[in-house]
Symmetry: C2
Subunit: 402 residues, 2 copies
């Protein structure tokens, strides 16, 4: 049922930024600019934290040329936050929304942001304030439920796949210099990003050789045996490890020396790659080092998947259509179609079911070793990362006789 | 004086690979294929180490389509090495070159590789074996003397500049989450790569805010005061640090726990970024983390400077012209011209003077703080990194009143 109420739209960005979250903002703003039913188009500066401080930006007062440029600019142009909404915050937020006559609210973010949007929607409903609240999905972790995949993931996956291919070229050029390399990826509790390192792998000897993901318990002996076996077979080993790997006791590797949690009680971690490098050096006496692209994997402006960017724009646009249709307390989802070729349409899922639920990597994407992916994963992920990955040229090693 | 001797050409790649060292190989091979005076075109598998083991590849037996593809493939397709030629090695190498009737030798590499080429040239001269030996410059560290710059540097510099811009976008989106970020670059004893992080900086508040290079002694109190001052001014701090930073006693930061040296007695280091992050956390109680792109900065296939690639191809080609002209014991150099616009021709420098000499970052490229570059550095480096860096779009922060 379409809303008959005229009012203002406010948009927020929340959680870890991605290379395409601004495409969702551009999609939403351009859809809003094109529709006469929306009066003001506002932006929360730094998400809900900014809203609570009335840091509200006028998005109609931007040069029109900005939006196509922002579609190609990484990170959250409005500013982001990682703030867990408290009970009294919802009431205060509603008061502010009322004063600014906001009737449509889009919140672009991941799991925690969906929780925020859900609390706002619930508070509005309780107090009888007519507010359409829609969450627009975004996360490189790809761990939101009910959507085929999450905008932001395809670009980060492309980055990790290409980084693994490229960085391995260095190891291959002189394998005995540092025979073991660990590449550390993000992903929080989900292995989606770590396993995307395999997307450029074409045969058993190609990197990566071992993928460590949060869904699988780490057993040091098994890991070291795997490293040694690959080393004996081909002379070098590329390991890709998610930032959070837990041992058999459930303790994160490399947690020693790290303290504290973020606002959502997620522990702050670092050090998985350092831990694995030290372990290999000490136990196998092999030289090892690590690459840790860090924030670059969520931000690389020259490694964006065009598919991902287009889909990010689409979910932003469809978020506006949803609020104008009077939908609320829902998240836009991506619905995959494989015929006649890969493309996505959108749907809606109830935020009550989305919020705080994580979709971990399903077992069917892991082979028996649990450290490598299956063909089913390639079928799932390759369409998301845009144009095909390059095939690096190699020499034919025909020896000369004197 | 042109050589009248017909014979075979052998090419080796040595030292740390780059994103464009294969362009030099392609340039050399394509020049050799086009010249009737060269019989066999051989490649050393893994540089001089492979030569000494007679691991010699036939480069005429490659599909013609390979060379244009290899021009765009990162890393050293022949394989590389980091091996310091011993006295008896030179004689053995000469015996092998004699048996394979090699009269032309190209060695693509950095300082240590120039040393190897010089020793081979000297040994050939002593024993009266007619051999033209030319070194072709390559190093992301940009520390070879007598050449305006080194092929490989422009692409790595572009990567670091863009990585700094992109990664900073994440910090800006939520500055208080991790207000201090350290990005660790390579560069061994030279700061060229670390200072290239400033190439996308347009004003004082843009990142990076502090650059730490090997040429300057690290003073912890001064560093912490700088971090605190930037933090107080804008709320976040981006530090770029070279992998090797020495304290006032000349000890590398983060050296603790690292042992050993490579074949050239260069110490093996890691941990500068971790050290700085820990220092900031402990002393300033600010949350900090680091990005360490590692091998990716020398390999990123999607961040190559077209200028760099073209110049790498050029020096490979000119290396073949030089050996055919009977030149020996020399390195190809890049000679810069700024009129009518930036371009390079090539020259030759005596290897005796090149070998083992490092060109560190000159003082004129550092401002009074010694942690930021001058305009002179932009004038020097911007032409090397190819097309202009992107300008990331930003919102106008016009606030809405209720």
């Amino acid at each position: 049922m379409a809303s008959t109420l005229r009012g203002n739209l406010i948009i927020g960005q929340s959680g870890g930024a991605t290379a395409v979250i601004n495409a969702s903002l551009a999609g939403a703003v351009e859809a809003a600019l094109a529709d006469g039913r929306i009066d003001g188009i506002y932006g929360m500066r730094y998400g809900i934290e900014g809203l609570l401080k009335e840091e509200i930006i006028d998005l109609r007062r931007q040069p029109a040329a900005l939006w196509p440029r922002l579609r190609h600019t990484p990170s959250a142009a409005l500013g982001s936050c990682r703030y867990k909404l408290q009970e009294h915050d919802s009431e205060r937020a509603l008061d502010i929304l009322r004063r600014y006559n906001v009737r449509y609210l889009l919140y672009i973010g991941g799991n925690d942001s969906a929780d925020t949007a859900h609390r706002l929607a619930q508070a509005a409903q309780r107090s009888g304030y007519e507010l359409s609240t829609i969450s627009v999905p975004k996360t490189i972790d790809n761990d939101l439920p009910f959507t085929d995949h999450c905008p932001g993931y395809g670009s980060a996956a492309r980055f990790i796949a290409l980084a693994t291919m490229d960085s391995t070229m260095n190891t291959i050029s002189i394998p005995w210099h540092y025979p073991v390399k660990v590449i550390e990826t993000m992903g929080r509790d989900a292995g989606w990003l770590a396993v995307s390192s395999a997307l450029g792998k074409r045969d058993e000897n190609d990197a990566p050789h071992i993928i460590l993901i949060p869904e699988q318990r780490f057993v040091a002996d098994r890991f070291l045996a795997q490293v040694e076996a690959v080393y004996r077979r081909i002379g070098y080993v590329i390991v890709v490890a998610a930032e959070t790997i837990r041992d058999e006791q459930g303790q994160p590797l490399g947690a020693a020396g790290q303290v504290g949690t973020d606002a959502f009680q997620h522990p702050l971690l670092s050090g998985t790659a350092e831990y694995l490098v030290d372990l290999v050096k000490k136990q196998l006496k092999l030289r090892a080092r690590f690459d840790k692209p860090g924030d670059l994997q969520r931000m690389a402006s020259n490694c964006v998947s065009a598919t991902d960017r287009d889909e990010a724009y689409l979910v932003g646009r469809m978020g506006v259509h949803a609020v104008l249709d009077g939908e609320s307390d829902k998240m836009v989802t991506l619905v995959r179609h494989n015929e006649p070729r890969y493309h996505c349409t959108t749907g809606l899922a109830d935020l009550a079911q989305v919020a705080n639920e994580q979709r971990l990597l399903p077992d069917e994407y892991l082979d028996a070793s649990k450290t490598m992916v299956t063909q089913a994963f390639y079928d799932y992920a390759l369409p998301l990362i845009g144009e095909p990955l390059p095939q690096h040229a190699r020499l034919e090693l025909t020896k000369v006789q004197p």
